[in-house]
Symmetry: C2
Subunit: 187 residues, 2 copies
DNA sequence: TATCACTTCGGACAAATGTCCTTTTTTGGT
DNA sequence: ACCAAAAAAGGACATTTGTCCGAAGTGATA
């Protein structure tokens, strides 16, 4: 649901910020702002300091699909820095978001020079891969009701913090279906 | 659909095999054999030399969901080597499969010592992440008919090489639905 | 050839989900 | 406090997908 990466954030703030004061810069985005746009070049890698973003793709038929919600310590832009391709998704602030921003070229330098950083990134990538695989397997193999109950269990304040449309786009369903199932499990 | 990684396979065969003759060993599996089992420890990393495997998870309700089919050069077991956790999926040979097998500990040594290898793995991980994200977004946002047509377009001999049950498990549907849609698009 | 196990194929019906609306509620700005 | 715009809610119906079968095809083997 809302993914976090405490280890990575800690490493950035406690170690890297001190030795790279001029290359790692803080930046803020207000709710609704796009930080990374689909099919555009990405010149930086971002690590979330605070706030929540959604990571989504807009399909050719106009439907939005939300991959994940990113919270503290989650990284994005790293795939594009590593393989040099354009972004395949949008990253948009859901509330007030603060990030650390690293130039893609410096990020790649760090990967080569700093073994610990390299390991953090390898772990971050394998974490992402694991949780996306597990979530999609679950979602495809269970009923909508199961998926919703699991989501609410993992993140009880979900419905207060995230719009119905976004929850529906995360589950790959319509808001109508979401409401229907919500009304059967709530009362 | 069937994922491949020519660059990685080339690097293994042309460079690594020569300098690590005793640590990278070839191994064969016949059709139907499980190479990696779900929720078990994994002690090696594998790169496919030839053949096709399926990568799938069995959910608590007994449903199998196929993440991907792996072909030449595709790597597996690397997530478990990197983060030290048990496997979250099964890898099973679909036909006769030959792999290169690397001890997890040696794999981690290589990551530290061999920058080129490290880059190959970073790229392999980001490729995997990109294609799983893109595939799931597409599948969730399009009709079953669209998904099938796309699949057949990407891989025309699909229906001959892979069982209906596996195709259904890959799409997250039942074989009944698959047949229904096949009969509407074929004739 | 007979038989068993396995896969495939579809019919008939049930259940889930989408589509298209209109109405109600909430939100944000002046 | 008021209004316009957006978000949420849910009715009615159409469509899609699942469930539960039994029938038909296939391949291996005695």
């Amino acid at each position: 649901m809302i993914r976090k990466n405490a280890d990575l954030l800690q490493y950035i703030t406690e170690k890297l910020l001190k030795e790279s004061e001029d290359t790692i810069i803080a930046q803020s985005f207000s709710s609704g702002k796009k930080i990374v746009d689909q099919k555009k070049r990405v010149f930086s890698v971002y690590i979330i300091k605070s706030g929540i973003t959604k990571c989504y793709l807009t399909e050719d038929n106009g439907v939005d699909f939300i991959q994940e919600f990113f919270g503290e310590g989650e990284i994005f832009g790293e795939l594009e820095a590593i393989n040099g391709e354009v972004s395949f998704c949008c990253i948009e602030a859901i509330n007030a978001v603060e990030v650390y921003k690293i130039e893609a070229s410096y990020f790649n330098q760090l990967l080569e020079k700093d073994i610990t950083f390299n390991k953090h990134i390898l772990k971050a990538l394998s974490k992402k891969l694991t949780y996306t695989a597990v979530r999609h397997a679950y979602n495809q193999s269970h009923t909508l009701e199961d998926n919703l109950l699991r989501l609410i269990h993992q993140f009880p304040t979900l419905i207060d913090e995230i719009s119905k449309q976004d929850i529906a786009n995360y589950l790959g369903i319509t808001p109508r279906s979401l409401n229907r199932v919500l009304s059967t499990i709530k009362p």
